[in-house]
Symmetry: C2
């Protein structure tokens, strides 16, 4: 089981490199991260975008991209569609979002013509390392789904569980987080959390152990859980921090980053291939971790389909 | 302006001690915190609760309470009502919650017979210190209001602003937090945040500067805000982190505590006097900070009423 960003990078280096399309690659920080991942033999890039701008940004980043495949499509929508087309033809194994709005790349992925979308929900999974903890945390969904209903929550959890499996965690512990650890009919979140735990017990959601409702302290701190008399095997041991909605998730993941100095990777799950998603404010090393986790997920998906 | 828990404690020591009722004082950790605050001349305690148990818990904590006023009321509801009655008669200036459910003490405070409740909304304000930041953060509301409407949000902000004023911050910067920094009609939180900013500009909410919607990163990190091209004077400078609902607030405050190792104080605002509120899992020093901030608020309230 991978427990740190160092282990994640090592694991991503130690399997054969996969082809990764970069949709709208005209961005120096993205190219810099791609170069690092390429040098570590994690991926082989296929750059899609405005070729002239791509070369200019590569110069800015001070890197040579002469040996890389570049597909010149200046239009952003068309560039995203080309990345999706290559994926549907099996010519690439993962996509990285470049200088383009997430909504544009999502639309291309959801386009039924290319068959990359197989139903369910697309959701974001953040993978974070916080100093002092013995494992990585998966946070979901902090970026895409505004107010998921119970069905969507099930899909979102399944997507996160797949990420955990790619990290070698075969039975991840999923904490369905709320403000409190007791079911309160006035708080829908707590009802859903209890239902998700029940569905897991009934075998409707497999490959993980779900518990809820959990308050964050009881999910990540054994001491806090003990104070409350919570004895569940999940108490203090959660791997997946499943949040009730976008506002809660976004505050959690950003608090981990800005107050907890977490190292962060992020990937969109739910399509036939993973989509590596970095934000502009993300540190360069984080972008590399994002490519590394996306590659591991792509490797797992290909092994399952083989 | 008070910028750290050390400065907070010093400030609370340097004004005349106020009488504080401890509702249901039969709890060793609470008595320990009260003793520390008493020794620093922050407060003079009036213990209310089961006298026999109070003495037993004091013995457990290894502290002498012989010189303190103790009112023997074993029934928890009656003990809370006595604390509220003393407050309404002006015999004490603040209340600390002891070994009793928050809901029981809240009911006593809301009881119109005692006149402690003057309309508006009772809300929790957390005051947190995170290493690496040059100021304390006020987080609200992470503990009481589940899904406040716009009117309730106004009350909640006013309560937090009063806490900031007690900290000597005369024009606190309030960030109305959402998952994104742009208004999105699909996200009610962003609409409310924009309205709150507007109400502040129109002079309907005074004594503070409100901006929103803000994502957390842009509210606390100047670098992140610059990446997004946000130039508001609030960008990276927020004092009050105002959250849209209980789930989001609870995750934020607990993430600051458990991932950001924040020192935390907490107080219930909205009544005629502040109610010092600590949770069982809170560190002993945090309980002291909670008494200190509550005392400063009570001092400010008395000065305004004088």
């Amino acid at each position: 089981m991978i427990r740190s960003m160092e282990e994640l990078t090592q694991a991503a280096c130690s399997t054969p490199a996969l082809k990764m399309a970069v949709a709208c690659a005209e961005d120096a920080p993205v190219l810099d991260a791609v170069k690092h991942a390429y040098d570590k033999n994690i991926i082989i890039p296929v750059l899609i975008g405005d070729k002239q701008k791509i070369f200019k940004e590569a110069e800015t980043a001070g890197i040579s991209i002469d040996s890389w495949e570049i597909i010149d499509i200046p239009d952003k929508k068309a560039a995203c569609e080309e990345a999706v087309r290559l994926a549907s033809e099996g010519k690439i194994s993962l996509i990285m979002k470049g200088m383009v709005d997430t909504s544009i790349i999502m639309k291309a992925v959801l386009n039924k013509e290319y068959g990359l979308y197989t139903g369910g929900v697309l959701s974001h999974v953040g993978v974070l390392e916080v100093a002092g903890f013995d494992r990585l945390f998966a946070i979901t969904d902090s970026a895409i789904n505004i107010a998921p209903d119970l069905d969507a929550k099930v899909s979102i959890i399944k997507n996160a569980v797949e990420v955990e499996h790619a990290l070698g965690n075969e039975m991840p512990k999923v904490a369905a987080l709320c403000a409190v650890e007791k079911v309160n009919p006035k708080m829908e979140c707590t009802l859903d959390a209890a239902k998700l735990e029940e569905m897991n017990k009934e075998g409707l959601i497999t490959g993980c152990l779900i518990g809820g409702p959990f308050a964050l302290d009881n999910a990540v701190s054994k001491e806090a859980a003990a104070h409350k008399g919570i004895t569940s095997p999940l108490a203090g041991n959660a791997d997946v921090l499943f949040v009730p909605d976008l506002e809660a998730g976004n505050l959690l993941i950003k608090a981990m980053e800005y107050f907890g100095h977490a190292r962060k990777a992020g990937v969109i799950m739910g399509a036939r291939i993973p989509i590596a998603l970095t934000s502009r404010a993300t540190a360069p090393e984080s972008k590399m971790y994002t490519i590394a986790i996306s590659k591991l997920i792509a490797t797992l998906k290909e092994a399952r389909n083989a």
